[in-house]
Symmetry: D2
């Protein structure tokens, strides 16, 4: 049994550092690198690629809306054509910077509001899939299980990866419980570990109402911007491996 662990990295900007990229890279297998629109700048991107290369972590593009002040977390009513172009621009920028270091991109994961909108909205999902196919049809597209984004990726002939969150609670319909709901973020490391193992081994998760949800889990997202994130990641990786689940990207 095998799972990918991914995290959003390279989210510093200019004079402002963010995250614990180096420490996290010791535990994850795939890095989603910000591409300059919601976070990241050319220098940060270069450094993040170099770090991932050194640590043997696979690199993916993490394109978002052009909204630094809002960190790409605010929905922007963009047209499918606008989304296709901004994804293509950002993924291309990172792909070129990676190739300059002799590295090939592994995947694309849309960021924040763009990810959430594309998981729900087929036209935006298709726009993202079109951009990825046009640039490099061997790229893997990340998305929520059963989302429009995954379906659009598959329809476009892309390999897709269903992404799950071991530290978030799920509603009975399989969607993530809103962050506004108390208990929606799980801080207890042991609980997170247990959920992760169940997700990977049994392809299911227990929803907030106690019901069981079937869900495909190809990659688990680890948040890197919380205190203790790196230690948390180390514990999770060790626990997965202890349970006979190897951690690795598609490039390993």
């Amino acid at each position: 049994m095998r799972i990918d662990l991914n995290s959003d990295l390279g989210e510093s900007f200019g004079p402002w550092p963010m995250g614990q990229d180096a420490a996290l890279m010791d535990s994850i297998s795939s890095a989603n690198v910000a591409c300059g629109f919601h976070a990241g700048d050319p220098g940060t991107m270069r450094a993040t690629i170099a770090l991932a290369r050194e640590k043997g972590v696979a690199i993916g593009a993490h394109p978002g809306f052009q909204d630094l002040a809002g960190f790409g977390r605010r929905e922007i009513k963009a047209t499918p054509a606008e989304v296709e172009d901004l994804v293509l621009y950002q993924v291309s920028a990172l792909a070129g910077m990676a190739s300059a270091q002799g590295v090939r991109l592994q995947h694309v994961k849309a960021h924040g509001a763009l990810y959430n909108m594309a998981c729900r909205d087929r036209a935006l999902a298709e726009a993202i899939a079109r951009a990825v196919v046009a640039l490099d049809p061997s790229l893997i597209l990340f998305g929520l299980p059963n989302s429009e984004l995954l379906r659009a990726g598959q329809a476009a002939g892309l390999r897709v990866a269903a992404e799950v969150f071991a530290d978030r609670s799920y509603d009975p319909d399989g969607s993530l419980t809103s962050r506004a709901t108390p208990g929606s973020v799980i801080h207890d490391t042991q609980k997170v570990v247990d959920r992760a193992i169940t997700m990977v081994r049994d392809n299911k998760v227990i929803a907030v109402d106690g019901s069981t949800i079937a869900l495909q889990a190809d990659t688990i997202c680890l948040h890197g911007d919380t205190p203790g994130a790196a230690e948390h990641a180390r514990v999770l990786r060790r626990a997965l491996e202890g349970a006979g689940i190897s951690v690795g990207s598609w490039s390993d």
Copy 2:
């Protein structure tokens, strides 16, 4: 005898149009496409690539400082590392967008203040050359004849192209007369044509003091943002061809 005609295109941004790209592309052989930092946006880049592809015009990247309000014309004291990263980012973005349309970039021409600074400053010139070599060593680097930029490109193993301006007067030392000097921009089309032919045929130009300057001319820059630019370009191209000089890019 043969010469390339290049022009800066794709300089619209969001709701603001600029230039007469479609008309100019009937006469030029190489388009320098803005990459989003001083002008251009992903949608404009996509449309400009499509237009160049349709018209058979070779495409180059035109990276500049991140200064929309100043259109990349203001010098910014950036470090060589910063310049290397911003050039690599922008050229990569355009290269990916072009490859998504099945087109390969032909060249890189730095824009505005970045171009001028890199022509004088060896460390910045080397930074640009490093970025280009790392991304694609088959790209041709544009620069002023005898500039640090051309020398750095050659030292890095790149093919380079010496760029001349048929509508600008030259100082005796081979540099362009400052735009602030009256007469520094030549508006008379016949004079521009005569100078262009002399530049290409004889590799020389008459300076403001009447002296003769030797200069290599691989590509002539046509300004696209002046009224009548497209008509001016048509006349120049016809005159060059009438003088037995074929117009074409390195991709033709």
Copy 3:
């Protein structure tokens, strides 16, 4: 009888001109000046203020979302607090620049998507009203007749102005027909003039289905970005005055 004529001006940015500000200012009584977030830059703002002052046109702030590429026309899911802050920032910037030229702002009109969202959404409308009251409670707040924006302004103790569009068709419920609908924009100058006079004199407009809608008309918006906009404005102003309706701002 009296009406205000307003237009969105100062929408150039850096090297990109937009509109025919000087010509339009001969016909309008109030200028909505972009504040740098969706259009406009400090130099454009200074020049637009100077022009309005010279022409005797009252000045208002035209704050929008921070989205140059989208010209502030794309909805961004911002919180009321974010909206309050961005309106306060932009109106303050323009107010200070105007006061530096000895001019006091007359009004505030939100731009594009921000205007449309605040006309519908009470929480955003209140956020805008709060910002305006905090900065200067004598400012007049523009909004659609019967909108949440006008109601929030009134509830906050502000003077408000109901804005109508003589060149747009109305649905029976009093809202503007979507621009996507054929015929939603009226290009015939005589029809526009007739509608404007009916709006001002009778406080009503004929909807697309022939029904009559009552609507308060304090100010008519003239679009400045269409060809012939200045001539169109001249004709409308002359026709209004010919019909005994004087044109003037609240500052006249």
Copy 4:
């Protein structure tokens, strides 16, 4: 005897925090608040004004070049007119946001590269002074002792304040030793305290070569972005007060 202690605050941006504003405000008397061009955003500005108001710290505007990625630390060759406009815009924005909280600005201190350039270049210095005078001639202009910036402020009729750095070494000509020089930044708190007291009491400082430089000291700048900055500030303030030097702004 009396001295002002100032610090650059409000330098967070969007999701990226910076500095220890609340802790520093317990020790300083004047806060230089970033205005959105090199750092700061409308929400950060509002919060910083509220904090300063609560802590009784006087507020000044800290306008900089529009260069988030470079944090306003890179020189940009802007014209005096461009500098005048960008200073007027930023100071106006902050002044309005402060007035919305019932607070009046006390001073203006240019940031980073803009400050350094204006200290040396009379035309830029005059541009800044013009902007400040036009907006509010009661504002105090900060600058290096003997700088063009202070002279231009005085010539324009402004009250000026000579700013010194107790934790930086000085060259014999009275300028700050380049940060690139080892020992140019003094980390020993006791040494910083001794220098501060000498500066305030004797209006002099010992240069790197041991010579004595006369310099006017109206306000001491404390850096807020170093670890231990808040504790350092507390010690300095207590030491100054222990030496009979009261700490206060011009608004106290």
